[in-house]
Symmetry: C2
Subunit: 349 residues, 2 copies
DNA sequence: TACCGATGAACAAACGATTGCGCTAGCCTA
DNA sequence: TAGGCTAGCGCAATCGTTTGTTCATCGGTA
């Protein structure tokens, strides 16, 4: 058990409030130097730490943030979380982590629980379009930020990348390389990144005067397994594509595994582009060409937006980064050293 | 803002305590059916959720656990965390995640913060031998469990694998393959896994009547980068080893990257064994031979030990799993399908 | 001597929930 | 009709802090 203000007060023969003021360096009230020193000594001796629960109840803030993601096992979300913690920790916040596995029900129950816990803010990176739990979030008027994926109704505070442009750049790269039959392992139509990157994929074709083959677009979800599954369908078609844009790096990795199993060489038989530039992408062999986005920064910026809301009661802003193409060997043989260092540009609304 | 008991009490014309009893289904007191129904209706209408902070203060439990690890970006810890959350979530606990980056100072400050927050229990997977913050943990007498790494003084509640045996099996495998110059990229001497796996490495030599070359043992830490660094030193020696046992899969991955850069073929020029069997290990090419340990289970078992302590005031137990060798292509060409499905055995003290 | 202004610290009311205990009213029994 | 039992609910303390207000004391001044 921990020592409390009351106990210290008894030992120092003063009122608990006096101890509290010394411990918090309360500027509103002078304390006699002698008393102050006596109490400070006592605090040091006992290693007193105020009970955060009681403090939270009184001050109405818990100094806890929460991150809601599909799965921490996915390197994208691990990096994102690090960004959040690195932003939150120095400011005295701890961070709760909630995995939803992409299940709306689990997301809902997590958000309910977070609400009951009165966390100071929540960062959601697992939202859907028209997401009822996001709607719930808006209603509560507690600080929140959507990351990576947005929910199309309403202008929620947001940090992410320009997915439309990203999809377009990724596909444009393949077109520039001379590919004309390009496949797309897409995200879900219920998720903003899925919709937009797909739209970018189509836009790149239009710009180049190409006619995309709709049969080459296959919904793949966001995991390596689901990517592999979709890849098997795509690559076993009668007239398979010579290049594929995958909605995320993890899906691209699933695809590359299947291609390897089928004896296809990358990039000679199949060029592959991913999205996100997770750390793993550069360590793969061949290295994965992908759209770089500042994942870690997503997290730290999300925290900043959250704290802005906390401090100024303001409504959250929207920050969108411009993704950057990183060319590696999965599209260009021996490209290892041509991938320039990522420099992501930023746009705030 | 959330609705409180007091407000509901006014609206229902009863005392707050009555609302509380209905909300909690308090068995100790009868409520008139009519009243109960009226209140239940009100609860439903307003979606009342008790303030977790106030509740925590009164009941002296927060329903929050904490996990302290070096870095969630490391797949081992990501899997471990999932184990924890999957064990904790169904029981109504949320989980705080703290990354230390292996820095004792950050560990200390995190643990202090967790103590102030009065979390119900903490899971530490980043402890050192003779760790002052573990000593602190013991002193506080709050529930805690050490995972994967233990601290040699005292018999702390623990979940992990038999690292001595693991190191021995891994090295024994290389010896059986005919290797005689075997290198070891070791962990740190300040970490139990480092010490024990190294000892296992030596024991396997002794058993086989081999004399290990001490120059082939290089301290590599636990990250891919530090592994690569140490690997460069090891492989550039005048008489390099033909096989290496790396203290973790991440270190092995760093090693394999360097080997590739040096134009060495795996396993023909260099056989590699890792430890932990992180998901990544099987997806690598060549697949990584490694010691399988049930990472996810580490987490869920740790939660169980924690809750046992919470419920029965008992002192925590120690659970040690027996690691299993998984043979893949990094030691045996074309071994892809010989790696048997892991079946880990358990020993409880 | 009486009053006044600082100074230093105690008082007490929150924050929102939980829970043992006590009170009231109604009914039954003697 | 008085006493007792019980069902149903209110009372109030408590968890540990924070903070506006009040109170006592003391030195100095008129």
């Amino acid at each position: 058990m921990q020592v409390t203000l009351k106990e210290l007060a008894m030992r120092a023969n003063v009122h608990p409030s006096t101890i509290s003021r010394v411990a918090n360096n309360d500027p509103s009230l002078r304390i006699a130097v002698e008393t102050r020193q006596r109490i400070e000594e006592l605090l040091r001796e006992t290693g007193y730490q105020p009970n955060g629960i009681a403090r939270g109840l009184k001050l109405r803030q818990t100094k806890v943030l929460a991150v809601v993601i599909p799965d921490i096992t996915n390197p994208f979300f691990a990096a994102l979380f690090r960004g959040v913690e690195d932003g939150a920790s120095p400011r005295g916040f701890n961070v709760l982590l909630c995995n939803t596995d992409g299940l709306p029900d689990r997301q809902r129950s997590h958000l309910l629980s977070l609400q009951a816990r009165r966390v100071d803010g929540v960062i959601v990176a697992s939202s859907f379009l028209k997401d009822p739990s996001v709607r719930e979030l808006r209603r509560q008027r507690g600080p929140y930020v959507l990351v990576n994926r947005f929910s199309d109704e309403g202008e929620d505070p947001f940090v992410g990348s320009d997915d439309l442009l990203g999809g377009q750049l990724a596909t444009g790269h393949l077109i520039e390389l001379g590919h004309t039959r390009i496949g797309h392992l897409s995200g879900k139509p219920t998720v903003s990144t899925g919709i937009l990157r797909r739209r970018g994929f189509l836009a790149a074709h239009t710009i180049a005067g190409l006619d995309p083959d709709p049969r080459l677009i296959i919904e793949a979800g966001y995991t390596e397994e689901s990517g592999a599954l979709a890849a098997r369908r795509l690559l076993s078609m009668p007239n398979p594509p010579t290049a594929v844009f995958a909605v995320t790096d993890m899906v691209a990795i699933g695809l590359m595994g299947v291609a390897r199993q089928l004896g296809m060489r990358i990039p000679e038989d199949l060029a592959v582009v991913g999205y996100n530039d997770i750390p793993l992408a550069s360590r793969l062999s061949p290295g994965l060409t992908t759209m770089h986005v500042p994942i870690h920064e997503f997290g730290s910026v999300a925290v900043r937006l959250l704290l802005e809301q906390l401090e100024s009661e303001s409504v959250g802003r929207r920050v969108r980064f411009t993704p950057d193409l990183i060319v590696r060997e999965s599209t260009v043989p021996g490209a290892a050293h041509t991938g320039r260092l990522a420099r992501t540009s930023l746009s705030t609304e």
